[in-house]
Assembly symmetry: C2
Homo-oligomer: 327 residues x 2
């Protein structure tokens, strides 16, 4: 059994807990939290919740510590720190800062003799893998990534900061015509506006100026001004009833040419349709935790990404079973 | 530069030659053939064509020998034989016999201190990878593989063996409603007939009994009797004009549940739309040749499949470049 520890118990931590339940070779040993442990109710019976500071002294009880903090402020410090003591997995998702995070984590993991898998999830993660495979197979081609339909936390937060807005949620939606053009192998050049639309569901405060809210959202730089954005005003009750989920997903498509004179076209498409973004991310992390555990057991160390993990390490089946059942 | 040798120059061998041209870190060093080399015209200028028997004595000139024979009779003997002397890649695709082939090739490759990648292509190959990844991420779910729309060589051959048939081609086509049901996450149980239809384009011999041909095709056991099959009679000229390509493709879909009470559904879909089945297969093989070359250079040996290859080995980019550009 792979003994799993969870550091941080929000949506992602709860997703890890659910994923561990589905994987027969894993057991949840402990949850660590920066909140008062007395106030944290977890789902698994009999598993203790400890203060975060106790983690290191309990390191002998844990095979893989899964870091469920945020990429902005938690993980840049936490992952290198814990990689000195534990085999760890995180879901660091600030794409531009991955090289720096990798370097910091690698140093710590090598020092600790541990494996640290960073940026596990679906993007970065499964989408990254599909970009790499498709590029390796079709060196002459074009890449396209579309996100959605799904809830963007950052854009929902941005809506809620607008004066007169009580609550709100934003969906990122791929533009169907753009997807169709890409799938046809036409290799279209697509602007930001061509690829995604943004749909907002906004609960206004009583007496708020709706036209002003809509204008302010639609012209907000970085978040909305480069997109075709629609704004729907709804009640809090409607928002709660129809928009409480955290769905997401998207498409990674590469189209390319082969042949002596590049006469043949090929389209590779990978897509996800997810009811729960954090639970799916957690499911990827759980598979990476298995891989990390095995790589450490084989004497490897250092920082790894999904690019460095031979796929067989992710599966509970052994090599012979995999070849017989899935190859 | 990775020096590539091609053993066998049919559609697949020609596809390898085209793939090598697209990969800047590879060069074609030699083509080996069982035919009279004088009769084999290849596309790349200045590259020699040798008799197959000369391969072993030229092993110092070749980094990776790509075996382009058939799975039925060529590869079971060739791959173990050449794995003693070369780093090799094959596209062995008789799924049921992969465990046996693996064992034979592994023994020879370990003995020779070489890497031998078997079953590279898209199914087995890219489809297998997607089955493995999706199963590792969603342990609680169902797998579906659909093939097509594409030309089935085996079924086309079967048509051509029917009395009164001069020529013919068969397309395997996924049933749209079955795809839609799978994508919806319904986890349908699908019979052979539910999943694929078979469409045949047949050139009859002069004076042949068309009704009899159609009946014989539609009731042919194993090949057609379990499917809804349509038969179109056309002229040789039409067949040549409209059906000379070798397109293929398909879909690997896994739908699964997550959540404490399995309350959330997810659908992972991978699809290929290929103008040229052999050229795409060859493109996967070329990437695997790069991986094999690097794994051998790192001192690894033995038989490997795509399951055993860390994705980064397949790419011409190094780890830092991959993390910065694709993660």
């Amino acid at each position: 059994m792979i003994r799993i520890g969870i550091m941080g118990y929000g949506n992602l931590g709860r997703g890890i807990e659910c994923a561990v339940k589905q994987n027969a070779d894993m057991e949840l040993k402990a949850v660590f939290t920066r909140r008062n442990p007395e106030t944290v109710r977890i789902l698994t019976e009999g598993v203790p919740v400890y203060p975060a500071e106790e983690a290191v002294k309990r390191k002998e009880e844990i095979d893989v510590l899964i870091l469920c903090g945020g990429s902005a402020t938690d993980l840049p410090g936490q992952t290198p720190e814990y990689a000195k003591h534990f085999t760890v997995v995180d879901s660091f998702d600030t794409h531009a800062r991955i090289p720096e995070h990798f370097a910091n984590v690698d140093k710590a993991a090598v020092e600790g003799g541990n494996i640290a898998v960073i940026s596990a999830g679906w993007d970065p993660g499964m989408f990254s893998l599909n970009r790499l495979y498709a590029n390796a197979v079709l060196p002459n081609g074009n890449d396209y990534t579309f996100w959605g339909k799904g809830v963007s936390q950052g854009h929902s937060d941005a809506i809620r900061r607008v004066a007169g807005v009580a609550d709100g949620k934003q969906y990122t939606i791929p533009v169907e015509q753009a997807l169709a053009a890409v799938r046809s192998g036409e290799n279209p050049e697509l602007s930001v506006r061509d690829k995604h639309i943004r749909e907002c569901f906004v609960v206004p405060e009583e007496g708020a100026d709706l036209a002003k809210i809509e204008e302010e959202i639609k012209t907000m730089p970085n978040y909305f001004s480069d997109y075709d954005t629609t704004v729907h005003f709804i009640t809090q009750e409607e928002l709660n009833r129809n928009h409480s989920g955290i769905p997401h997903g998207g498409f990674v498509i590469r189209s390319g040419k082969t042949g002596w004179n590049e006469e043949n076209s090929h389209v590779i498409e990978y897509s996800l349709r997810l009811d729960s973004n954090p639970e799916f991310t957690a499911s990827v992390i759980a598979a990476c935790a298995r891989a990390a555990y095995r790589m450490k057991a084989e004497g490897m160390k250092g920082c790894k990404t999904v690019f460095d993990i031979a796929p067989a390490y992710l599966s509970a089946l052994d090599g012979a079973q995999l070849r017989a059942s899935m190859l």
